[in-house]
Amino acid sequence: MPTTQISLVREHTAKITPPRALWVPFELGRPLGVPGDTAFQTRVLRAALQLLEAASGPVLVDFPDDAPAVVDAPTPLVCPVSFASPPEDLSDTDFLRSALQREIAQLRTWYDLAVTRRGRTTVGVSRLTPEGMGTFIGAFLDGQAPSNPRADIPLAALFRYAVEDLKAYYCEALAAQPGNSTADSTTLADWFWRDTAAGRVLFAVHEVSKQSAIPGMQAVAAGLLIPRARSAESPFAKA
């Protein structure tokens, strides 16, 4: 079967030497470069497909252009819930849970608007409501196993799906707010991990779950919860 491919990590592709590959200098998670830019995405896809007509191989071609930069600089993102005194003590779980639920509630209108505008949402793998995600994720702050609302999925896996659903809910909601539709991935991630109660809750669950007795939860906490690029930002990490 003839194949061509997009490559995001050139160093890997150079070692593996597949028959045909187009290396693109784009962010991990964005192999076609930039959302909403039909012309640019088409250029990338066409360039990858044209490698099928190469006379011999293997071929590894570099796409010549970086992804177009965001034109409008995003305005400073607004934190849905302001912390009067940010909790830095893991024992203050009630405060964290309350802040998370208030935040989810305050984002609801923006999320609903985003779904209407886009005609789609990426939230839904966990099949929990946003409020249900907050309750379910918040329950892990105690280090105990909460009841599992899905009989078909192990608890730690459902936690993992709920976390990504929650992050998607936040980022989709935020993009519906005035001035935020062009916020880039770094701005959104900075906002989520540094400024929201949700980010703080996940950092807290990360700490609590390092010794968790819930099957699979230690592995989730160790490598599947906090991005490597954010691991040094936990307000709860022990010095």
């Binding site: 079967m1 003839p2 194949t3 061509t4 491919q5 997009i6 995001l8 990590v9 050139r10 160093e11 890997h12 593996i16 030497t17 597949p18 028959p19 200098p25 784009f26 962010e27 991990l28 998670g29 192999p31 076609l32 470069g33 930039v34 959302p35 039909t38 995405q41 990338v44 896809l45 066409r46 990858a48 497909l49 099928l52 011999s56 191989g57 293997p58 005609g119 949402t121 990426t122 839904g124 078909d152 192990p154 730690a156 896996a157 993992r160 799906y161 990504e164 998607a168 993009a175 959104l188 991630a189 699979g216 592995a219 989730v220 599947l224 919860l225 906090i226 991005p227 490597r228 690029a229």
Partner: protein, 160 residues
């Protein structure tokens, strides 16, 4: 940003430490002109239909699910495609804004409509990339048969 020098140092170190398979042979399969190709997409982004089962979050026997893949019908609507990739180390906000930045199905249809490619496959597929490649061989053979039966003669592999 996938220029390694622009990636966060912790992520860069992980990427550079990642083992990459090597192969004794370098298969090369030719084919007709691009305008005669029937093209399928195979993603490693952990994509699937909203009602399909999510990719497993495994901490145990990863080999047991190594060849796991999902079928994506060509007429799927954007709101029916979700992502359950296990990794937390790549951006998902692009996919939230526009599925084509991960799964360029609309772009592929446009290329078929203008005649740049012959046609689009009836089915596309997705794996979850955080998988040991050598354990995916059986699934790859299975997909090759399915693709052949769909008269596909070109596959575009799209990472995440």
């Amino acid at each position: 940003m996938a220029r390694l020098e622009q990636v966060h140092p912790a992520m860069r170190a992980a990427l550079l430490a990642m083992a990459c398979p090597t192969f004794d042979t370098q298969p090369w399969v030719a084919g007709p002109a691009l305008s005669q190709r029937r093209v399928a997409l195979i993603s490693t982004a952990g994509l699937h239909r909203r009602e399909d089962r999510p990719f497993a979050v495994t901490s145990g026997n990863a080999r047991a699910i190594a060849g796991d893949y999902r079928v994506i019908p060509n007429d799927i609507m954007a709101n029916d495609l979700v992502m359950s990739h296990v990794s937390t180390n790549f951006d998902r906000t692009g996919f939230q804004q526009d599925w084509n930045v991960v799964f360029p199905l609309d772009r592929l249809h446009a290329l078929a409509q203008e005649g740049s490619i012959g046609s689009v496959a009836a089915f596309h597929y997705s794996f979850m990339g955080a998988t040991e490649p050598r354990h995916m061989e059986a699934a790859a053979h299975q997909l090759a048969r399915l693709l052949t039966q769909d008269h596909v003669n070109a596959v575009c592999l799209v990472p995440v």
